[in-house]
């Protein structure tokens, strides 16, 4: 092959590869993109229906319930304005604790309970996922109070 043909071949192959990659990316992106939805929006019914999304906030103190000897767990997550009940079945991450930040993957059920298939808590005590920190700072509520009591004035603050 002459150098020019080589270059053409290289360019052609690269273009083909990138075209396939781009097509594939766009198609599969649709299915795998998971939006982060704030707890207040979830409470107001503004969330993607029948697909997975993420929620995040603080675990409300005293809200963690489990049946003796079962791996099913139920707790509430708050952004200091609203709360959403969450259910999960499985082993929780080490840093999952009442009053701490948490991110959950899953979808809303008919019963308005968020069924999580994955729970993430950060490895670092001081670190909070940026989206959770963001969501909390929008609602200028007293975090201590919110964690202790759950929802404070859900619905009045529209974000």
């Amino acid at each position: 092959m002459k150098p020019r043909q080589q270059r053409m071949l290289a360019v052609g192959l690269a273009a083909l590869g990138i075209a396939i990659a781009a097509g594939l990316t766009l198609r599969a992106f649709q299915d795998n993109m998971m939006f982060f939805v704030e707890v207040s929006d979830v409470a107001a019914g503004k969330y993607p229906k029948e697909r997975n999304f993420r929620i995040g906030g603080l675990v409300v103190g005293g809200s963690v319930q489990r049946d003796e000897g079962s791996i099913d767990i139920r707790f509430e997550v708050t952004d200091t304005a609203c709360t959403v009940p969450v259910t999960y079945s499985g082993v929780l991450p080490d840093l999952f604790r009442e009053g701490q930040g948490v991110v959950a993957h899953g979808r809303m059920g008919e019963d308005k309970v968020f069924a999580a298939d994955k729970i993430m808590a950060k490895h670092d005590e001081d670190y909070m996922a940026p989206e959770v920190a963001d969501s909390l700072s929008k609602h200028q509520q007293d975090i201590q109070q919110a964690v202790a009591k759950g929802a404070v004035e859900c619905g009045t603050s529209d974000s």
Partner: protein
């Protein structure tokens, strides 16, 4: 006093780095031998002062000098000595100092082993490396000084993040950085070649061993990180497509492409400008990784604490390096192209395809990693891209890559006779398909299209990698055997084959199960019986733990007893899971303790992971292949000196 010496040494290192950059580059431009000679001396001094600085910080950790803020935040009196040392690079400031030390060490190595290179070329390489050092030294001194004082000093420190208190993670960052930073040498070689406007096959021969060594370390570093995530995070996977994992994986992919492209440039004098571009890209992606990890811009389990000034500094430095290099490239590279051709069926074609596919794979990983950032900037929505997307997208370029790999190894340079080619490959091809069906069916009792493709591809790579070494073994003494270079290639590809079979089998047959378990109870997972004998309390140096004793039985026969722990570290009060693993080449049996579910019952995560060890074993074999390849005779100093132009 010692920390001040450390800081002072760092400032002196910066001064020397400035000398190391300017004097040799100007000297090379003017043809002034005395000025060019300054480069080596300055590089040696630069390394010494950085080493002193690093030693001072290490000393501060060893004697628990909590008047140093960084030490106070990341160490503690009761921390075992090994982790006091590894705590030096346990967070941002210290790991940056480690990065600087490794860059200085690479520079010193280039200065020491460059006697065979033309003087002006070596001077330019050292100058470019000096420039990179200036950037990182300024970064450390201006935004991330590890020697900042804390007054008054606390009585005890805040402890090292318990996750990092693990031997695997103690050596993971150094290995990874040696790899990351090592690509700076290939980058400097590329820049030096573009400045001088002179790039021949000798250039590729000089660049190859350096690139291969960096690639080896990066391979080991990534594999070690993956292994650590597997047993320490307890999520049961070995790769999560986390942004920071991707940040280390992208330079690896491009580095792999670079190694192959350099082979073409060395053997045939082709792909020159492409090779340059890859050398620039590999290092730029290393810098991008640094930016992603240290700016806090991306959500990741590995992210360091956020500081906008740091992110801004690295982004600016990244922009200077990348734009500078690309401008130079646009100006100089077109003049370097050569006029030799090759036929469609030739090794050149396969290596070209290898490069295209690896670049596409890198682009996909990059898209997936940066998409959340781009979407957030454009629409404000916060999204994340799940591992399923990466798994599928990545497979698209990888499948053709592994199949072409086996063909390319047995294709001659320039042009290959199609009949002869087919004669070599037909039996391995048939054997691979047969094995692709037999392996899953015989050992795991199930077969599917993806399993046949995965196992067949793995068998195909392994067989075609073994053809050459086996032939050379069977050959009679006295005739020419296989070169180290070719043997290295075969071994590295063999590692790739082992990796592919590991990934295929563990993805298809791995079992994960979360269950509740009480002492005296048993549960069955993947045909094995897990029996919880009891729980007890144990004390570690800086933690207390609850330890479970679990017996694993297969058909009533005791396989092993494992003891997973739930540790509470005393200073940070944080809980950590220490999984119990029965490791074997054929399978891992894994139990991690979850939470106490009531009086006596615990949640446990039980996993059966067949052939998962092949994933890391494959990476290790790949790195060994690299080691064999660089031991090839033609890279040795003597022969290099003999061939270097006067």
């Amino acid at each position: 006093m010692i920390p001040e010496i450390g800081q002072f040494a760092l400032i002196l290192a910066l001064a020397l780095a400035v000398c190391q950059t300017i004097i040799p580059l100007v000297g090379a431009h003017r043809g002034d031998a005395a000025m060019m000679a300054v480069g080596r001396t300055a590089a040696t001094g630069h390394f010494l002062f950085v080493a002193v600085s690093f030693a001072c910080l290490t000393y501060a950790f060893l004697v628990s000098d909590f008047s140093v803020l960084y030490v106070a935040n990341h160490s503690q009196l009761a921390l075992p000595t090994l982790y006091k040392v590894s705590a030096v690079w346990g967070a941002h400031e210290g790991s940056l100092l480690l990065w600087i030390l490794i860059l200085a060490a690479w520079t010193l190595a280039v200065a020491r082993f460059s006697s065979g290179l033309p003087v002006a070329f070596a001077a330019r390489v050292i100058g470019v490396l000096g420039f990179l050092s200036i950037g990182f030294l300024l970064f450390a001194l201006l935004t991330s000084n590890p020697f900042d004082r804390l007054v008054p000093a606390p009585a005890d420190g805040g402890d090292l993040n318990p996750l990092l208190q693990d031997p695997g993670l103690a050596i993971h960052p150094p290995l990874l950085y040696v790899g990351y930073v090592g690509f700076s040498v290939a980058f400097a070689f590329a820049i030096a070649a573009m400045i001088s406007g002179d790039l021949d096959q000798k250039w590729a021969r000089w660049t190859r061993p350096w690139t291969t060594v960096a690639w080896m370390f990066l391979t080991l570093g990534i594999a070690l990180g993956s292994w650590w995530a597997y047993y320490e995070l307890g999520w049961g996977g070995w790769w999560f497509w986390d942004a920071v994992e991707n940040a280390s994986f992208m330079p690896w992919l491009i580095g792999t492409a670079l190694i192959h492209s350099l082979a073409v440039t060395e053997k045939r004098g082709l792909f020159k400008s492409w090779t340059l571009l890859l050398a620039i890209t590999a290092f730029s992606l290393s810098l991008l990784g640094t930016f992603l990890v240290r700016s806090g811009i991306i959500v990741s389990v590995h992210a360091f604490a956020t500081d906008p000034t740091r992110g801004f500094f690295i982004l600016s430095f990244l922009a200077i390096v990348v734009i500078g290099a690309l401008v130079l490239y646009a100006w100089r590279a077109p003049a370097l192209d050569s006029d030799v051709g090759f036929s469609p069926l030739s090794r050149e074609t396969f290596l070209l395809l290898n490069n295209v596919l690896l670049v596409v794979a890198t682009a996909l990983v990059l898209i997936g990693t940066l998409a959340p950032l781009v979407v957030e900037m454009m629409s404000g929505g916060k999204i994340s891209i799940g591992p399923p997307w990466f798994n599928v997208a990545f497979l698209v370029p990888m499948l053709p890559l592994v199949i072409l790999l086996g063909m390319g190894m047995h294709t001659a340079w320039r042009t290959q006779n199609a009949d002869a080619w087919w004669r070599v490959l037909r039996i391995p091809a048939i054997a691979a398909i047969v094995l692709g069906v037999i392996i899953p069916l015989l050992f795991y009792g199930r077969v599917s299209l993806m399993l046949v493709v995965g196992c067949g591809a793995a068998a195909w790579i392994v067989i075609s990698a073994l053809i050459q070494p086996v032939r050379s073994l069977l050959r009679q003494k006295g005739t020419a055997g296989i070169t180290r270079s070719a043997l290295g290639m075969s071994v590295a590809h063999l590692g790739m084959g082992l990796f592919v079979i590991g990934v295929t089998i563990v993805s298809a047959f791995g079992v994960e199960s979360d269950q509740a378990l009480q002492p005296g109870e048993s549960i069955e997972v993947a045909g094995f019986e897990f029996h919880l004998v009891g729980l007890s309390n144990v004390q570690g140096p800086n933690f207390s733990a609850i330890e479970a004793e679990i017996e694993i039985r297969d058909d009533g026969k005791l396989v092993d007893t494992i003891r997973p722990q739930k540790r509470q570290y005393l200073v940070q009060k944080s809980w950590m899971t220490e999984a119990g693993i029965r490791a074997g080449l054929d399978k891992d049996l894994f139990v991690a303790l979850g939470d106490q579910l009531g009086q006596n019952s615990w949640s446990v995560r039980i996993q059966y992971k067949p052939l998962i060890r092949f994933i890391w074993l494959g990476a290790l074999v790949m790195a060994i292949g690299g080691l064999i390849a660089i031991s090839d005779r033609r890279y040795r100093a003597g022969s290099r000196a003999a061939e270097a132009p006067a």
